[in-house]
């Protein structure tokens, strides 16, 4: 009986500690974002600076969309959004297809050189972009690809790390799965497309998120290969605001909000699948 009592008391203390900690953490994690949004709604630059030292900075009043229209007036913002969405979605979609296809081939077939191929992919799984940027620039320049969409898409479709994630997932499928289908006369591509992919939603979502985030924030490469606004994506466009003094923080925050909002929405939508994939990919 006393043990029972102390356990109950503990959980109550536990709970209140949990809640206090959660609130403190929420402040730490969310205040930069709340701040970003509320500042973006404040049309008065001087007022933004005045409010910075106080709690008032978090309350957007008087709220106006002036900064947002300023962003559109100062630059071809629509164009940048279009560029970013086009480049990122094509890269991610093509990436999901080719990376999962190769992983499927590696995981479900026995053929000459398979072991070697898997070890190459795995050993060179992480090649950071910055280390190959210069040779890649020289090469794409030779192709005459500079200042285009495809120079920002094609080199980033295939990725050994994503192949590895898919590979780990596909290799855990039971053999019986495709044997039954093969007896039914289904082709390999059909098995991949009709059976493997529909079972892979969690891993597809998870790779899509990783790939999307990487491409959406990609800065160095677009800066190197684009000259004018025609093919520029959002992260490079943001630089415009930092080149001029005094910096217009309202505009910067409006830009940052518009660049972050779509990702956050996508995230909330895919989050469930993402968490599921964590416990399914074998990296437990």
């Amino acid at each position: 009986m006393p043990a029972e009592k102390s356990r109950k008391k503990l959980t109550l203390i536990d709970k209140s500690i949990s809640y206090t900690l959660m609130i403190l953490l929420a402040i730490f994690f969310l205040f930069p974002l709340i701040y970003m949004i509320s500042t973006s709604l404040n049309p008065d630059e001087l007022d933004i600076l005045k409010r910075m030292g106080s709690i008032k900075a978090f309350i957007p009043s008087p709220a106006s969309l002036k900064n947002y229209s300023d962003v559109f007036a100062r630059m071809p913002f629509g164009r940048f959004i279009f560029n970013s969405v086009l480049i990122v979605s094509l890269t991610v979609l093509a990436g999901l297809l080719v990376n999962s296809m190769m992983a499927f081939g590696l995981a479900r077939f026995t053929f000459k050189g398979r072991g070697l191929l898997v070890s190459i992919i795995v050993a060179l799984m992480i090649i950071p972009f910055e280390t190959i940027a210069v040779p890649l620039l020289l090469m794409t320049n030779k192709f005459g690809w500079l200042d285009s969409y495809h120079v920002q898409i094609i080199p980033f479709i295939a990725n050994p790390f994503y192949i590895f994630l898919f590979y780990q997932f596909f290799i855990s499928f039971p053999k019986a799965l495709e044997e039954a289908a093969l007896i039914d006369g289904a082709s390999w591509f059909k098995i991949y497309w009709k059976i493997a992919l529909p079972l892979s939603k969690p891993i597809l979502a998870s790779v899509a998120i990783l790939h999307f985030l990487m491409q959406w924030g990609f800065f160095l490469w677009p800066l190197m290969v684009t000259r004018g606004p025609e093919y520029r994506p959002l992260p490079v466009a943001m630089q415009v605001f930092f080149g001029q003094y005094p910096r217009d923080w309202g505009d910067i925050m409006a830009f940052a909000t518009m660049m972050t909002a779509p990702v956050l929405i996508l995230f909330v939508v895919l989050q469930g699948q993402y968490v599921k994939s964590v416990s399914q990919t074998g990296i437990k």
């Binding site: 910075m52 040779p135 996508l266």
Partner: protein, 288 residues
């Protein structure tokens, strides 16, 4: 035809990888053994001289040391904090589900924007952080332009950005730890601290290992944008880490040879990290 089939699935992807990842990596290796002459575009084979020079360059050695400190401090803080938070969030306190979604938000913010936000909040004259610091401790700090505060500021922004990722993984794996084990340990009279660190933390060690590796990769490489936006490697090279130094050498100073040698050193480090990861993962399979 049947025999050719696997190759049809593999070849398109493999060609792209070779062309746009392995081939440039190979060129970087070649470049690291050459020196570009100051005039014209003649290249001279110099063997390992680029590497030797790097290891004699105090600036590079400083960048290596700084990277080591920056990576270990930010990874240690992130792992420790994310585990604790994940544990709290799996206690079944109501409201944690929606809360989890909120906490995940910084992960979705791109590094350049994260850097911008913190630059603004850490502004020495009007920034919020200083306002609170002045209120609480009576000090006013030039966060981004003075030693050692520029380092703290970087750690701050890095942890903020990286922690949500680790937290999600910990939540998923703590939820997988069977309730029986936790119940049993409670009956044994283990207190909360013992339960958490002696029982649950070891049970999720595979995920910890995975996260440590992922965090090392993030802090080694993706830290570029945060460093660039917040401190630009300053004050006076104080926060220049390996990736930022590589960027400066390759693009600002156009030192192609040394920059390629720096790339090779980073490859080598990553290769070692990958090998360690897989030898650990293998052992885990035997263990089960």
């Amino acid at each position: 035809m049947r025999k050719l089939y696997p190759y049809l699935l593999l070849i398109p992807t493999f060609v792209i990888i070779i062309m746009f990842i392995y081939y440039p990596a190979g060129s970087a290796l070649k470049l690291s053994l050459y020196k570009t002459s100051p005039f014209g575009n003649r290249t001279i084979y110099v063997g390992l001289r680029n590497f030797r020079q790097l290891f004699e360059d105090p600036e590079y050695l400083y960048a290596v040391r700084f990277t080591l400190i920056y990576v270990s401090v930010s990874v240690a803080i992130t792992i420790f904090m994310s585990f604790i938070i994940a544990y709290m969030l799996t206690r079944g306190v109501p409201g944690t589900r929606i809360y989890r979604t909120f906490l995940f938000a910084p992960y979705a913010v791109s590094p350049a924007i994260a850097g911008t936000l913190w630059t603004f909040l850490l502004n020495p004259v009007v920034g919020h952080v200083n306002y609170f610091f002045a209120k609480l401790f009576g000090i006013q700090v030039a966060w981004l332009t003075s030693k050692p505060y520029a380092f703290y500021a970087l750690i701050f922004a890095t942890v903020w950005k990286m922690l949500p990722f680790d937290m999600i993984f910990y939540i998923a794996s703590i939820q997988d730890v069977s309730l029986d084990i936790i119940e049993a340990s409670t009956l044994d009279g283990a207190n909360t601290m013992t339960r958490v660190w002696r029982i649950i933390f070891p049970l999720v060690s595979p995920i910890t290992f995975y996260l440590v590796i992922m965090n090392i990769v993030t802090t080694m490489f993706s830290s570029f944008a945060i460093v660039d936006v917040m401190t630009s490697g300053g004050p006076g090279g104080y926060t220049t880490n390996m990736i930022y130094k590589l960027y400066l050498d390759a693009f600002t100073f156009q030192k192609r040879g040394p920059a390629a040698a720096e790339s090779m050193i980073m490859f080598a480090i990553m290769l070692v990290v990958t090998i360690i990861y897989f030898s650990f993962a293998e052992r885990k399979v035997h263990y089960q």
